[in-house]
């Protein structure tokens, strides 16, 4: 068994895990953060995406012990303490970017990463290609793409540059 210390959603966390325990298992089974989901076993679906030290990571593809000392943000860590949603969450709601909600945590986390990593703007094609690693079976992606595009100006606090259209 391995001892692991890390920071999850701004709070110190500790757990004792098997060395084979995955980060997603640490989050769900040990820390009871069940917002991060497991939708496959081949790193294809992206339901488990979290942020590790600022990088977007599939938490089913990382061992828990690799997250020793890391800053991890999960879907539970996005909204404000009073329940006010992060702009990406709010735009998913506004544009009906979710149906069953199962892929949603990963989609929101990937959407945030996409917007943050494209400070100069984001085209529809870039969004679609950027979501290659996230599968949704409900929405047909139409409204997810819309939601991410709508979150860009809110997260960068400026209009989407025309050039990026």
């Amino acid at each position: 068994m391995a001892q692991i210390n890390l920071t999850v959603n701004g709070k110190a966390a500790h757990a004792e895990v098997e060395s084979r325990t995955l980060l997603v298992e640490l989050l769900r089974d040990h820390l009871h953060l069940t917002g991060t989901h497991v939708g496959c076993d081949t790193s294809q679906c992206g339901a488990c995406v979290v942020s590790v030290d600022g990088k977007s990571v599939k938490s089913c593809t990382m061992l828990a012990v690799q997250a020793e000392g890391a800053q991890v943000i999960t879907i539970e860590g996005l909204a404000a303490a009073d329940g006010t949603l992060h702009p990406m969450q709010e735009m998913f709601r506004e544009h009906h970017g979710l149906q069953c909600g199962f892929c949603t945590p990963g989609m929101v986390m990937s959407g945030i990463d996409l917007v943050e990593s494209h400070p100069d703007g984001l085209t529809e094609q870039q969004i679609r290609e950027g979501l290659e690693g996230n599968i949704c079976r409900c929405t047909g992606y139409h409204n997810i793409v819309k939601a991410i595009a709508a979150a860009w100006p809110l997260m960068h606090d400026k209009q989407m540059p025309q050039a990026a259209e």
Partner: protein, 801 residues
């Protein structure tokens, strides 16, 4: 009550698009899916499954596995047999042409004697952790003598083929037919031309993003069993599992289907794991949790489609359809899943008229057992298969006749004044306007401007094509008496309990189940609209047999048409009672009380009582007509539909093919559907987007492929091509509604139209793009390899130019 015949959109009411009530919880990680639930002291189950498609179980030695760390219990088929546990039942019984009942082999919850498909469960290992259960399963010593397997229907029905079940000669489950063969033969005798097609409707794997999960719990002190499960219909699971498998009476069995991450049909059926964990929890007196892995889901969730069909259409000189003859083989897989026999028959062949006036139709269906995962309803269930067949055949007929594809459809449309329309294959369509959906869809998609776009693409070296489908489907299942006559073993009504609280807020308990459809929003709108209470004052509860009186669940686009109608019926009772209370309070005759916009008014006066005043009076009956009316304001209604509902519409797809690679690029997709009354346009559009994308997936990407030994080759998300964001385009959605004439809402259903209408539109576009290559049909999925091979097979006219 807001007048449905002259609707005014009120905030949060019918026709408005409030944002979804359920979204905050899903967006903040607070959803409560089955795998998020943990019961105190739970153990974990893992199922050891067959890795051969067909074989005799010679022996299972559990000793070494039982000695592994953390192992609590191991059960095999022998234990299940000893315990007297029944097989998983099938919900429909069909009869063959000769009147004999379908062959219905037992489906034990753990294999007994034989394994019949890769994924068939052999043993259940329960341990302190999932990992320990998996480790112990590796230590089971299982001796299976492999037998020859049949994975494909033609092989399964060939002489001398291995038998999946000894009782099913030739691997035939049933050989069924519908329609008037003699009338069809007569029509063909007078035909000017005959169009023919052979179609394989590709086998699909539904893949809802949440894998199935089940937790069995048992309270020894009360004898009560609880099953938490990823189900679209918890009451149906309680009925099937309680009455037929485990013999647990309803009052001692609670089934909870909490938040469920997508279903698409795959979560309708009663699966063996549900019964296994429920039973095992009582054996070890501990909760038992099982969570399906994705790889496991590929070989255990019921698959969809998998039909092989030959069809012939007799045409008159003017392009009128005279007769239709259809012969289908439908794969049942290794065992009969809950709805399986109804899919190729009553949910498919009864729609062979489509939107056309074809006067004579004859359909035959042979259902075939194979050594594959059971096949059952997947989004659309039978209607996509028929729609694909018909809409492809109509295009082939147009080509055969030298007619325009739109003109031949218009010539054969059921005219609007022919409704209600009795088809030659049992169904009576109540409403529809095929010209309206066609015209609107052609306008949005700019059908008439297409040739210029084709020419422009050709200059860029691309092959551009456009295709349409004009379709109709049957859903809102189902009138119980009709379904019963057709072989359903249960009623198919729906139930609503509308509970008005003392201060006028409302909780609605529905027997339908939401797993993405947004019922918590749509149903709240319906109630807000009809009772005149704020949208925010309505809570919708579903998914728990302990809370909801009864219900048949959500599938077949039935929730609004059937479940919503039950709600309207219950609200009618609430209003009728409210009128009596209001009449008493205002000292007026009951007949003089009108209810509108949340107010009970004495007709022709300004005397009124608000809905909340009536509610509080009902619960604090100090001044109350107690001799005539009971206190309380809480009503339940069962609604049994009078007919199926018939949504339909027109889908148009435009594609471009790169002849160098064979890749089909979607350019545009337009869907204009007639789904009856729309409650929430935002949600309706979302349902169409998702359905169309699954249809595009079927047409271009998805295919469950078995090799001849019964191994699933497309057994993971790395091998089975799910549509991703960059495979699809923005989808233009419109509605042109005619109202359903036989339910109080006029609603028809929207859950499946996208998946039903879209595949033939896509393939018709692909075939159109390849029109210079002499292609009349391409089976789905239209992969780059298939198309590249077509383009490079001969010496097409294009190449010669």
């Amino acid at each position: 009550m807001n007048d449905l015949s002259n609707p005014v959109i009120i905030k949060g009411g019918i026709g408005d698009s409030p944002k979804r009530t359920e979204d905050h919880r899903f967006l903040s990680g607070k959803g409560r899916y089955t795998d998020d639930i943990n019961r105190p002291g739970q153990a974990y189950a893992y199922f050891k499954r067959s890795d051969v498609a067909h074989g005799v179980i010679k022996s299972i030695d559990t000793a070494a596995a039982a000695a592994m760390p953390g192992v609590v219990a191991i059960y095999t088929g022998e234990d299940i047999a000893k315990a007297g546990i029944g097989g998983v039942p099938c919900g429909w019984q069909l009869h063959s042409k000769d009147g004999s009942p379908m062959v219905e082999p037992p489906h034990p919850i753990l294999a007994q004697g034989k394994v019949r498909y890769v994924g068939d469960a052999i043993a259940m290992v329960i341990a302190e952790t999932t990992e320990q259960a998996k480790d112990a399963a590796e230590a089971l010593v299982i001796d299976i003598e492999s037998l020859p397997a049949v994975s494909e229907m033609r092989a399964a029905t060939a002489p001398g083929a291995a038998l999946v079940h000894d009782a099913a000669a030739g691997n035939i489950c049933f050989d069924w037919h519908i329609g008037d063969k003699a009338a069809v033969d007569a029509a063909f005798a007078t035909a000017f031309k005959v169009a023919r097609i052979d179609v394989v409707n590709n086998r699909l794997i539904p893949n809802p993003m949440e894998p199935r999960a089940a937790i069995g719990d048992f309270d020894q002190s009360s004898g009560e069993h609880t099953l938490y499960t990823t189900s679209q219909n918890p009451h149906v699971i309680r009925l099937l599992m309680g009455a037929f498998v485990l013999q647990i009476p309803e009052h001692k069995l609670r089934v909870v289907a909490p938040d469920v991450g997508g279903g698409f049909g795959a979560k309708i059926f009663h699966y063996i794991e549900e019964a296994a964990v429920t039973w095992a929890a009582a054996q070890i007196n501990r909760p038992v949790k099982w969570t399906c892995g994705r790889g496991e889901a590929f070989i255990t969730d019921a698959h969809g489609r998998d039909h092989i069909t030959h069809a012939e259409l007799a045409l008159a000189e003017d392009g009128k359809f005279l007769g239709l003859r259809v012969n289908t083989m439908a794969n049942m897989g290794a065992y009969l899943s809950t709805f399986a026999p109804s899919v190729p028959t009553y949910l498919s062949a009864t729609l062979l008229a489509g939107v056309y006036t074809t006067p004579a139709i004859y359909g035959e269906v042979k259902a075939v057992f194979t050594n594959t995962v059971p096949v059952d309803a997947y989004r659309g269930a039978g209607r996509p298969e028929t729609t694909f067949l018909l809409e492809r055949l109509v295009d082939v007929a147009a080509k055969e006749m030298g007619m325009d594809r739109v003109a031949i459809r218009r010539r054969n449309f059921i005219p609007i004044d022919a409704y209600p329309y009795q088809t030659p294959v049992a169904l009576m369509y109540d409403s529809g306007n095929h010209e309206a959906t066609l015209a609107r869809c052609m306008e949005i998609a700019d059908w008439n401007g297409f040739e210029a776009r084709r020419a422009a693409a050709a200059k860029r070296g691309k092959l551009r094509g456009i295709g349409m489908s004009t379709y109709l489907e049957a859903c809102g299942i189902a009138p119980s008496a009709v379904a019963g006559a057709l072989g359903a073993r249960a009623g198919l009504y729906e139930v609503a309990n509308v509970r008005v609280h003392p201060t006028g807020s409302v909780t609605v308990f529905t027997g339908t189940h939401s797993h993405g459809q947004g019922h918590e929003t749509t149903f709240a709108q319906l109630v807000a609209d009809q009772l005149g209470v704020p949208f925010e004052s309505v809570e919708v509860v579903h998914g728990d047999t302990a809370k909801i009186p009864f219900g048949m669940g959500t599938y077949g686009s039935r929730s609004l048409a059937v479940g919503g109608s039950a709600m309207v019926k219950a609200m009618d009772k609430i209003i009728a009672k409210g009128k009596k209370i209001a009449a008493h309070l205002m000292e007026a005759a009951v007949d003089d009380i009108e209810f509108k916009d949340g107010k009970f008014t004495v007709a022709g006066t300004d005397k009124s009582k608000s809905f909340a005043e009536i509610a509080i009076t009902a619960y604090v009956p100090h001044n109350y007509p107690i001799e005539e009316v009971e206190p309380g304001l809480d009503e339940t209604a069962f609604y049994d539909p009078k007919n199926f509902t018939f949504p339909g519409g027109c889908h148009i797809c435009e594609v471009e093919i790169d002849p160098d690679t064979g890749v089909v690029q979607l350019i545009g997709f337009t869907a204009v559907d007639d789904i009856g009354r729309v409650i929430n346009p935002m949600i309706v559009h979302g349902q169409v987007h998702g359905g169309v994308t699954q249809g595009i997936g079927q047409a271009l990407l998805e295919h469950a492929i078995y090799d001849e030994t019964g191994q699933l080759l497309s057994g993971s998300l790395m091998d089975y091509t799910m549509p991703r964001a960059d495979n699809v385009v923005n989808i233009h959605v419109g509605t042109e509604s005619t109202l359903c004439t036989h339910n109080p809402l006029g609603a028809k259903g929207v859950g499946e139209v996208g998946a039903i209408g879209s595949p033939p539109a896509v393939i018709n576009a692909v075939v159109d793009a390849l029109r210079d290559y002499g292609v009349s049909h391409i089976d789905m999925p239209a992969t780059p390899q298939k198309i590249w091979s077509i383009i490079n097979a001969g010496a097409p006219r294009m190449a010669a130019e």
